[in-house]
Symmetry: C2
Subunit: 189 residues, 2 copies
DNA sequence: CAGTTTGCCTAAAAGAATTAGGCAAATACA
DNA sequence: TGTATTTGCCTAATTCTTTTAGGCAAACTG
């Protein structure tokens, strides 16, 4: 009976990889056990439940995403920062569709408050400091940016933009131009 | 052995109701059978599989949403149309969170092409006719509107906007104002 | 009212989640 | 180094969900 060396971290990582391969909705404790070639019950020393596994994958994805975003924002401001930030989301979702789906999991309020989700909000506000917005407009703008980024990425991932001849990359650039213009003009449009 | 009168339509309807009550991800053939007080196997005369049920709920939701949107658009144009259309999405998602989640299910291309999803795209284009956009800008704008509506609604539903003092309704209005202004100004921002 | 269709059933297999309790490997400690 | 303790992974069992096969009776067809 050789010990494989399971830990919560390794399980979470492998679960995230599994999500990218088969889709987050198909991540299961059984499949994860198979991947480590151990019995299912063995995972329950490290994970409370199937839901717990999903939550841990979500938190991992949020961390990774926040780390990448922080990297991308370093030394940038204005439209440059906006674009870099937006591309982090889009690129991450394309590279890691399962992890991205996990990041969209609805977390209970305490878990969400302790997650990297708060860093995301902070970074969005940091970007908006490059534009001239005061409250409550800044909050409105935070929400708008979050909506556009998440909405675009998730529609694109679902294949929603593959029917038309127009290239998705062009639409993305156009949208970022538009958002930048919008924010520069403040509320006086 | 009294016959309950199961039909695919009744099952789909009840499945949609169930989704609104317990969440689309918790919709199961077993739960649906329980609701009709019949044995699980009985549903398989009307449904091919669990996936089939989910797809049918998704198609139902897309139809309902398109019907509401068509109603809302009748006799409106410009910002009035834009606002009415956007509110249909948001209101539907708030009234029927399970159905809305179902409508976001990834459908295989043929199913999607035969679904009410195409009406949604057509209506979005109809709204944009009230603004002065030519291709490919119109396509970019279609994608942007879709992203914002879907993104906002899904973030709001996930509770993402409940942490701040700023009212979600105000942000929504601000965003619609911004989009209208953006589209009115064309690409010359 | 006989014949056919068909709706809901029982039965059964297989995958997935979860808990309880056990044995052996790793670690601690004398 | 040998013993004691912890702990990692196991077997076993329960429950729930999905899905298929085959049967009987109710509802239409004539």
């Amino acid at each position: 009976m050789v010990r494989v060396g399971l830990t919560t971290e390794r399980l979470t990582q492998a679960g995230a990889d599994l999500a990218d391969e088969v889709g987050f909705e198909h991540v299961t404790v059984s499949a994860l056990a198979r991947r480590f070639d151990v019995k299912v019950a063995s995972l329950y020393s490290h994970l409370k439940s199937s839901q717990d596994l999903k939550t841990k994958i979500a938190l991992l994805a949020l961390e990774e995403l926040a780390d990448r975003a922080a990297d991308a924002l370093a030394g940038r401001s204005g439209k440059d920062a906006l674009t870099a930030f937006a591309n982090v989301y889009r690129d991450y979702a394309r590279e890691h569709p399962g992890r991205y789906a996990a990041a969209r999991l609805k977390l209970d309020p305490e878990t969400a408050a302790a997650s990297a989700g708060v860093r995301h909000a902070q970074m969005t506000r940091a970007i908006l400091r490059g534009y001239d917005l005061t409250e409550p407009d800044q909050t409105h703008a935070v929400r708008m940016l979050g909506s556009v980024f998440h909405g675009y990425v998730s529609l694109e991932l679902a294949g929603g933009f593959s029917h038309t001849a127009v290239d998705s990359q062009d639409s993305w650039a156009w949208i970022l131009d538009s958002l930048d213009a919008l924010l520069r003009n403040g509320t006086t449009l």
